[in-house]
């Protein structure tokens, strides 16, 4: 299902424009069907049909992915349920190497003849592509794991929770926001379950069950007299968790600067909506920012997006090599900078780790989509660029003996390619909380939540907005600001990072809709950090008058 069809079926219309991106959708199904599972034994049989058929046609390597991709969307607006949609996409993708070249084919006809035919097509495409080949594919070695499985460690499968419970939650959230001052609110729950089976000629048969959840809302507050309006979006993060993400507990809340409640690992949607309704009203009355240089204190609910754009993307090896030049762009982190072992990406306290194993994160998975067991590695160590994100056919370029497990396809019908793992800023080593950091700032802005975002195609120049902006003067928050965005150059920005709060403040942010490729595919990825301080950042005022 294309994004257009999805918007059509969900009746989301204009509300869909609030969503940064959506995963591939399947066909609408009955909610009860989402709880049925495909037998692992059957999946192994079907996978073997594909492996054998490809081998018999001359493939020297084959991998097969049988995927069942389930989504559930519950969307409400004020006191109305706008739509409830369950979708399923089920099929098989087969990738082969023949004559040194890749070939791929996919089918949703799950009988043995159709699968064998898809295998044959994949081999034929590989042979056709090999005519234009400049150098044969070099795959990093990968041991077979035999029959293994992995599952997101969830406490409660969101698909098992009755729709009524979800509707009641969202309508309650809307009511809380309206009561605290919001004029309009759209709220939604978005659940994902990827049931993926991978088999390859390396001897792996891997069954995985990944769960993700995103509760979100979008509030608008109008001042009819002035004709002005302000918005306040949810402070939740999409997570690699079950429905337990919504079972909030006191220990999962952090009090931020100015007494704002922030969420760590669990989310109190009702409380956030109530606060959001009031804050949208405060934003309307807030002081317009004076442009200039400020020290910024950035909350993890905001910083994740800056990390995603300025660290996650430029360390993708396929961008560095030019494979994305016509769409997502290339990267300023060229191989010579990595080879020098001296490229000063950030200040000495800046450490970024890529991690596909982090519990609760969107990118957590046991094995990637080419059968590589997932792990954790340094990208930026003590401020220096030390590594990239790679897959099996890229590992040799970095002299690596194994892939880093960054291969992902957003659907059985999509070709897997290099996608971003969770990339996170490591917490500061000194004991320090948000208040300690605010106390040290003379002239600054404290930013919470993600907002407007934009970065150039090589990831140098960026501009970010946010949800809530607080002015800091002489170590104290003195009030709310509006019309704030900051602009910086990636390397200068990360070199201006002077303080990072300790691990008690560490939280995840993330997105379902990280886009790359042609045709485009989406990837779900988290970015963790503690609150961090950046000195002397350029802030501009975005207020305009159009009459």
């Amino acid at each position: 299902m294309k994004r257009r069809d999805f918007i059509y079926l969900t009746g989301m219309g204009a509300a869909a424009s609030m969503l940064p991106g959506l995963p591939v959708m399947g066909n609408p199904i009955d909610p009860a069907q989402a709880l049925e599972r495909v037998d692992v034994g059957l999946k192994k049989q079907l996978a073997d049909v594909a492996l054998n058929a490809a081998r018999s046609k001359g493939a020297t390597y084959t991998d097969v992915r049988i995927g069942r991709y389930l989504n559930q969307f519950v969307v409400t607006r004020e006191s109305n349920v706008q739509n409830i949609v369950n979708t399923e996409s089920y099929g098989l993708g087969i990738r082969v190497i023949s004559n040194g070249s890749w070939g791929f084919a996919a089918t949703d006809k799950m009988d043995k003849d159709s699968i064998a035919k898809a295998a044959e097509t994949a081999v034929a495409i590989a042979k056709e592509n090999s005519r234009l080949l400049t150098e044969p594919v070099q795959l990093a070695p990968q041991k077979g794991y035999g029959e293994v499985s992995w599952k997101t460690p969830i406490e409660k499968n969101g698909f098992e929770v009755p729709i009524k419970e979800k509707v009641d939650l969202l309508l309650g959230v809307n009511d809380a926001a309206i009561k605290s001052g919001a004029n309009y609110i759209t709220s939604l729950l978005f659940l994902i379950n990827e049931q993926k089976y991978f088999a390859s000629t390396d001897g792996s048969y891997i069954d995985q069950d990944a769960h993700r959840i995103w509760p979100a809302f979008f509030i608008t507050k109008i001042d009819a007299a002035t004709g002005k309006f302000e918005t306040r979006n949810t402070l939740s993060a999409p997570m690699g968790m079950g429905y337990e993400y919504l079972n909030h507990r006191p220990q999962d809340k952090i009090t931020g600067g100015g007494g704002i409640t922030l969420y760590k690992g669990r989310y109190d949607m009702l409380e956030d909506a109530k606060a959001g309704g009031a804050q949208a009203g405060e934003k309307l009355k807030a002081k317009s920012v004076e442009p200039g240089k400020y020290d910024l204190i950035l909350d993890p609910s905001h910083l994740w997006l800056t990390i995603h754009e300025s660290v996650g993307h430029p360390t993708e090896l396929d961008r560095v090599l030019g494979y994305e030049a016509n769409f997502a762009g290339t990267s300023f982190l060229t191989l010579d900078k990595w080879e020098s072992k001296k490229f000063n990406f950030g200040s000495k306290i800046v450490n970024f780790v890529a991690d596909k194993t982090q519990v609760g994160s969107l990118g957590a998975i046991g094995y990637d989509d080419e059968g590589v067991g997932c792990g954790k590695w340094d990208l930026i160590k003590d401020g220096i660029l030390v590594n990239y994100q790679t897959i099996r056919d890229q590992a040799h370029i970095l002299g690596l003996k194994a892939s880093q497990g960054c291969c992902y396809a957003d659907n059985w019908s999509s070709v897997q390619f290099q996608r971003m793992p969770n990339v996170s800023l490591q917490p500061g080593k000194e004991k320090k909380n948000i208040d300690d950091m605010i106390k040290g700032v003379e002239k600054g802005i404290y930013i919470i939540g993600d907002g407007s975002f934009s970065i150039d195609q090589q990831r140098y120049n960026f501009q970010f907005g946010g949800q809530l902006f607080y002015e800091i003067k002489n170590g104290k928050i003195v009030g709310m600001l509006r019309d704030v965005v900051y602009q910086a150059n990636t390397q200068e920005f990360w070199n201006s990072c002077v303080e990072i709060a300790d691990s008690n403040d560490y939280r995840l942010g993330g997105a379902f809709g990280d886009g790359k490729g042609q045709p485009p595919q989406s990837n779900s990825v988290s970015h963790g950090s503690s609150t961090a301080r950046f000195n002397g950042i350029n802030v501009i005022n975005t207020a305009r008058n159009i009459g």
Binding site: R4, Q82, T220, F332, T542
Partner: protein
Amino acid sequence: MAILSKDDAKKILEKVVGFSKSDGIEVTLNGNDGGNIRYARNSVSTAGESSNVSLSVQTYFGKKSGGASINEFDDASLEKVVRRAEELAQLAPENPEFMEPLGPQNYGTDPKTFIESTAKITPDYRAKSASNSIEPASKKDVTAAGFLEDSRGFSSLMNSKGLFAYSQSTGVDFTVTMRTNDGTGSGWVARNFNDVSKLDAAEASQIAIDKALQSRNAKAIEPGKYTVILEPNAAADLLGLMLAGMNARQADEGRSYLSKKGGGTKLGEKIVDERVNIYTDPWNEEVPVANWSDGGGGRFGGGGGGGGGQPRTKMDLIKNGVVSNLIYDRYWASQKNVEATSFPGNRIMAGGNASIEDMIKDTKKGVLVTRFWYIRAVDPQTLLYTGLTRDGTFYIENGKIKHPVKNFRFNESPIIMLNNLETLGKQMRVAGGFGGGSSLIPAMKIRDFTFSSLSDAV
């Protein structure tokens, strides 16, 4: 199977409607055959074809509706999908914004959206197009990365009130980015047509190669307010965002750039230069599009939908700088006692006779922009957007291109931009935009366009 004739589609749809036991039913049957080739580093990276046909059913009981879809077309499967939709409708909560389906409509003649030659594109044609990019690039020490995608498809819709609509279309999209091997120059070109015979991948690729070579070793100039000449692709990106926001309900609710101080909307008010005329017309020969809409967001009302099978007509959006229509979905139209308006399938902005060369000759000091990149909303109230120039940005002085310049970040509103209009140039067809379809947009010269910082990106 992917392209069903009008008669074949009608037979299947009639059968499905006949299975209905609900208060009403609406069925869509769509199919698409597509192919693509992607290349980078002067070599093909992926190529493939896909084919799909799917049937979606929406049924309703009172104000409760439910949907289901299927890609199998035997009688048992067709009946099953209707029963499933009916079960889901019974389980659904009532939607107070529910609208019953439309009755039969008169759509007029069929726009020429389907071109046989595009429907017959082969893998060989795609490979040749890639090679027409890669070969000239490699001879000039330039690296090509491009994507060609073609499609042929049909859409059809029938409901229990007697409405039937059917259309076919073809399309081809081609984009290529050319980068000089020293990493200092980059050029880009995009082409979009219903008719593949209008596409010359070699000619388009040459433009991108020339831009890459000309944009090497760009100089930095101070950010600030500049006169800009926006090529049609650059102009279209910002215009598309403005036109996508012409939703009447949001304007009425006070949360749009078209909301008015003290309440109400800017419908009928002048918001941009009087030379700005923008309209939609499904029968335009350069950008034809189906003359009916499949709903686009909530076919039974609510959620901003246009209503399944709603006719698309020729309609002014901005006339002599004045907002002449807003987009009313069927529910909101019923609340406001006005006619519903279908979401535009294409967008046409009247242009002038000036070529880009003419506009450069006529510019004392300015910047020529090939395209914009990573455009995101900053403030929905003023329609302020940020983004960057990319793949060919040049400084103009005394009527001539003086030298390439480093890319800029802009912060600008299309409303302010269209109030600062100097000259309208020739129109060009450009791809996509919110709501799909294509646009016919002129190059334009704009004064005081706000560049707020420099980027080192090439």
